[in-house]
């Protein structure tokens, strides 16, 4: 299908990624996340990595290693939505999680043409078992969250 992207294992500890769309990345192998079910809509991609942006940012990259031209912006929802909770959720049991400490939660960010209108998908966060680096996109169908929460509310006015 797409011959542009290729992943080449350089040594035991690093994976070099070339993406026509996003450039070159070097990924420490122990940072690779496994998504057994993939992302919803992308069930065939199981290997991802979270990368910092080139300038310090609350936004990070979720880069697909199976298809390096596929990437998402992600953020820790607690940086933007302090009251956000994924717990309790029966799907977390499938990650072998006992405590909230074992889990990292990321929201996938949708960036429209006007980036100030970007939004976080709080209904379907990515939860990562920090120990095993297995991740799942779970669905919080509890009526509290939608797929589009504006990330940047109005600035606090003086």
């Amino acid at each position: 299908m797409n011959v542009a992207g290729e992943v080449e294992v350089e040594s035991v500890s690093e994976v070099r990624v070339h993406s026509d769309r996003f450039g070159d990345f070097t990924v420490p192998e122990d940072k690779v996340l496994t998504l057994p079910e993939g992302l919803i809509g992308f069930p065939n991609y199981h290997s991802f990595v979270i990368m910092e942006h080139r300038t310090p940012s609350l936004l990070r990259w979720l880069l697909c290693l199976d298809e390096p031209d596929l990437a998402f912006a992600v953020a820790d929802p607690s940086d933007f939505f302090p009251d956000y909770r994924v717990w309790p959720h029966e799907e977390l049991d499938g990650l072998g999680l006992e405590r909230a400490d074992d889990v990292a939660v990321l929201a996938i960010i949708t960036i429209p043409g006007d980036p100030s209108a970007m939004s976080a998908n709080l209904m379907a966060p990515l939860v990562v078992n920090v120990g095993t680096r297995v991740a799942r996109q779970i669905i919080l169908d509890n009526g509290l969250y939608s797929t589009r929460h504006p990330l940047l509310g109005p600035s606090v006015q003086g």
Binding site: H53, L59, E91, D141
Partner: protein, 89 residues
């Protein structure tokens, strides 16, 4: 499409370990009880569809989109902080 008729309380089995039981009929609403192993995820179609569409729309087109978004977040944070600093007291 396979079409089956069931009475209240009756069950349809899909494969060896998924069951759907007709629990209640009220007006134009039907309550179903579903049982499946944990690896079989069950979603209401419209919820699943909304998330699938959102994921597809969130796939980045290029680096410059991320750059613009990172700048927007930084400027917004800075704007909020400056505005707060100006508050009296």
């Amino acid at each position: 499409m396979l079409v089956l008729t069931r009475k209240l309380g009756e069950i349809i089995r899909i494969g060896s370990d998924v069951t759907v039981r007709l629990l209640e009929i009220k007006g134009n609403q039907v309550r179903l009880g579903l049982e499946a192993p944990p690896e079989v995820k069950i979603f209401r179609e419209e919820i699943y569809r909304a998330i699938l569409n959102e994921n597809e729309g969130a796939a980045l087109d290029g680096r410059e989109v991320m750059d613009a978004a990172a700048t927007a977040v930084r400027n917004h944070r800075m704007g909020s902080r400056l505005a707060r600093d100006k508050l009296p007291g």
